[in-house]
């Protein structure tokens, strides 16, 4: 599904510029500006959260940066439109993570699974 004509590989300099720009936004909670609506029984009609719409122009820098990591890993894998969908997916994940982390836990709260030796 890769669309070579639309691909926009990021060189090392571009990646570093994006990294700097993204880090500048993280302390002010870039994810907070892009949090999607909370998941409810009406919007995900089945097993899991459905895909978000195509990448919005206002996508957070963190989502774009994460997408570039994937693009570096799989340079010929997806078209620009598809990479835009990945940016939206990261936006959703980051928004969800922000809501998750807003629920405070005690140091003693263990994950709900147990390792057995």
């Amino acid at each position: 599904m890769s669309d070579v004509s639309e691909r926009r590989p990021l060189d090392r300099r571009g990646f570093l510029q994006l990294l700097v720009g993204s880090l500048a936004t993280i302390p002010v909670s870039a994810a907070a500006q892009t949090s999607p609506a909370p998941t409810t029984p009406t919007t995900p009609p089945a097993t899991t959260t459905p895909a978000a719409p195509a990448a919005p122009e206002h996508s957070g820098g963190e989502a774009r940066l994460l997408t570039e990591v994937l693009r570096a890993r799989y340079p010929d894998r997806l078209s620009e439109t598809q990479w835009g969908s990945v940016v939206s997916d990261f936006d959703g994940d980051l928004g969800g993570a922000k809501r998750l982390r807003a629920s405070k836990l005690k140091n003693s709260d263990e994950p709900d699974f147990t390792f057995h030796a």
């Binding site: 599904m1 998941t39 029984p41 009406t42 995900p44 089945a46 899991t48 894998r77 997806l78 993570a97």
Partner: protein, 469 residues
Amino acid sequence: MADTDLLYLPVRELAARLKSRQLSPVKLTEVCLERLDRLGPQLNAVVTVMRDSALREAKTAEAELARGRHRGPLHGIPYGAKDLVATKGVPTTWGAEPFRKQVFDHDATVVTRLREAGAVLCAKLAMVELAGGMGYNHPDASFTGPGLTPWNTKFWSGGSSSGPGAAVAAGLVPFAIGSETSGSILTPSAYSGVTGLRPTYGLVSRHGAMALSWSLDKLGPMGRTADDCALVLAAIAGPDANDVTQSGRSFAWSGARNGAKKLRVAVPKGCTEKVQPAVRENFDKALASLGSEVTVTRDVEWPDLPWGPAVGAIVTAEGASAFLDMLEAGDASQLKCPADRTGGYSGLLLPAVDYLHAMRLRKPMRAAMQKLFQSYDLVATPTRATVAYPADGEFAKAYPGISGGPPVIPAGNLTGLPALAMPNGFGENGLPTSIAFMGAPFSEGTLCSLGATYQSRTEWHTRKPGGFA
């Protein structure tokens, strides 16, 4: 009785006819096979019809019944299985093109259990590719095409157990096995107008079933009645050394409630305000019909926890791990739904901290639900806020402004709770609506008892879709 009518009979009635030899398992199986072949494609409901093995199993059942050996209420009853449970020597496709030629050398435990109970596996049924784990946003998300509800074939049968929903509703099989990670039994039960039971996490072995999310996946029955679902659950539940998450518990079914005390039912605040009008009206009528059995408390506050983000993080992380090979190889490009071709990638970079935070939250989430069930026996909601989605459009565009309120389905799945969905009327475009009851862990007996009582007083579960009757 016409052949078609046979397949709309509840399991218990079919079982009585089979045991008394008024009905032949071979005849019943042949009727199923003919309908699966002829009508299955109209609904995109079937992946593989298992004609030879089904007739072989039916002949075995017939011979055993003739000898007076009766294995129980499923002996000689045909069924279908969502195509994510392994069947030895027969393709198990997971609804996805990259796995279309996949063949296992073993049967899933549920298939073995049902065979031991004498049930006859007639077909592997269609499903949303990879049980929806890659984030599909459109009903057309399987190489078999969008599952269609027989009540109006311009609309979706629900997902991800789309084939089981459509096949049971159209009388292609008396019951089916579906699976749920977060909504995949309840949703197709609602959109197809059948009864579906999501068991407690750990009651039914998942050995041999496709893994999407190890800590959320469950297998369960979809049938015509609550009694049918309970009979099937009794056959498939129980300890299995091949699934370490199995709780060691079994399920014994004692039938409908009889003179028991009233059940305390909570209706969460906000769960009916923004649903479709027919959904709300049918929900209220259903609760009213159970007035002698339940005491209803409305506007119960739902625990304020990040249910949606937690289930999202867990499915994203576990799903990316479960399908890592497919993602690494680039084979997601073969998936049907464009959103699924890209939807798995972000999971590859989901921070372990976020996954662990979600898993740590499951303990306070379970505590919150335990507290709720100290005051109430069951939670009641409309199963879905709307009737089925159109088969040809994105979900997000189908019913703007409609909302089901608190995230009861994610909450129930994160905390491993059982739930029962039952048809309770019809709404827009002649499509079914549904009511769901959710209970404390291992309360399937209570759920099915109340369901059987409800269905003894109503006839929604007996309706047959025109064109398939």
